[in-house]
Symmetry: C2
Subunit: 272 residues, 2 copies
DNA sequence: TATTCCGATAGTGAC
DNA sequence: GTCACTATCGGAATGAG
């Protein structure tokens, strides 16, 4: 049984007068102007979508996607992006707190848009920099989040267009679909960290798992050195906490387990 | 573990001074000039390969495939084909006897060549006109045996080239590979009996099973009418024979069971 | 046009 | 560039005296 896709589901969220009516399994947080939902198919360990609420002076059609927003009056568009940025920064802080609770270290977080989307309402991706997830299945998935391929448009870059000369602004907001599409299909599968080309998705996923494993090893060594310097031992009680005993709150920001279970484990035990 | 392909295995059979050294699971019969083996991957209920033995004046390279044979001196080539034809007619009789034992009726038998082959020795396909087999898996398989698509070259047609005007003979024996290749890939999946196009191999296979079921139904009705006319009842003893009790000889010409078992059953019970 | 295995690719259906 | 399912297509390996 597959759940029915609803390409306008974000629009229905964005039009809710009271976002809190959304279940906590969908809604993470909201502000006057935005709401943040869990990505139903997270492509990283942490993956959220920040969505602009439908409010005057903008209607749903202005917020269909990034291109439609960027065709609005410039200061209006910028205001929407700034609101998304503010909410995304709050989400970033929540993720970083959770990273510390779950993994004992933080790593980078990306914020950005897809220039083309099947979902019919603008959404800003906020995701941890790992691309390590059971839901990462296709080349299209991967390349759409690769941080330097060109398809993933970092929010700070989009905002920088507004401060550039008008001709540059005009050129960038075109967002020609065909050029972006070719990025997803024609590009190789290159590790976003070491730039090595992988021959297939299974090999890429194994490599990403390996890279994340190395990250945890590095960070563990780093905190070990710090512990020795400061002579403050890690609490042995906290270190012994198991999955079963861990408070519910701890895993609240990470994907629920259970499906795609044959994929590589996303396990905190990589730390130990 | 996959069995090792040996693209020259037929050549090794063809060079044996005494074919009877081949195990009965491989060799069906032989003559002075030919031998007949079971097709290891039968694409019909009955499927054999008649192979010319390597004998003077021809060497292995003359018998690599149909094209190399047809580049030999014309009367020599014709002689090889006539020898294959004679052996194939004997095989046809054996199949028809087995059809009567197993199915209580006979159906058409095709004899023909593939203009392109991976196996490195000429082989004449002799197979029952059903294309109903668990080993029939791909479009390429199917179209290579479709009796009117053009890839399957009926022996009688090839022999007819020899009696045509020389210009026609010269044109036909070219056997241009690229043209024949496109037949397999570009053609639709059309039922060879009713010419209906099927959308996929699974649907084609279901249709072929249905067609064979209808054939058995027709033939059963026909023999029933005949029984009434002649008033000679079918032996109830023979009608009650089960798979377990059936003498070994009965199933000797049909594929062994056991692999590809999830495919549609090839069962005599279609008759009952 | 040997098979089989693996993986990428293409089309569809979902309400 | 929604997912998930089915099927097709495409390359590479296969063996080993």
């Amino acid at each position: 049984m597959t759940s029915a896709p609803n390409l306008a589901i974000f629009r229905s969220y964005a039009s809710k007068p009271n976002p809190i009516t959304l279940p906590p399994s969908i809604l993470l947080s909201h502000s006057e102007t935005c709401l943040t939902v869990f990505d139903a198919f997270p492509k990283s360990i942490f993956h959220f979508l920040v969505i602009p609420r439908i409010q005057p002076p903008l209607s749903a059609r202005h917020l269909t996607d990034l291109r439609s927003l960027l065709r609005c009056e410039k200061s209006t568009a910028r205001k929407v992006l700034m609101n998304l940025n503010e909410e995304a920064n709050n989400v970033k802080k929540m993720i970083e707190e959770e990273m510390m609770k779950m993994y004992k270290f933080k790593w980078e977080i990306w914020m950005g848009f897809h220039p083309i989307s099947s979902m019919e309402h603008l959404h800003l991706h906020v995701l941890s920099a790992d691309l390590y997830s059971p839901k990462m299945k296709s080349k299209k998935h991967y390349n759409s989040f690769h941080p330097s391929l060109g398809f993933f448009l970092h929010l700070k870059d989009v905002l920088s267009w507004f401060d550039a000369v008008p001709s540059y602004y005009q050129r960038m907001i075109k967002l020609d679909a065909s050029q972006y599409q070719s990025l997803l299909k024609d590009g190789d599968l290159c590790c976003w960290q070491c730039d090595r080309a992988l021959e297939s998705m299974p090999k890429l996923k194994a490599h990403l798992q390996d890279e994340f494993g190395k990250l945890t090893t590095r960070e563990k060594a780093k905190s070990e050195r710090k512990r020795k310097r400061t002579d403050v031992p890690v609490s042995s009680v906290q270190a012994m906490v198991t999955d079963d005993e861990r408070p519910e709150k701890v895993a609240r920001l990470t994907p629920s387990r259970g499906d795609d279970s044959s994929d590589p484990t996303l396990d905190v035990d990589l730390l130990s």
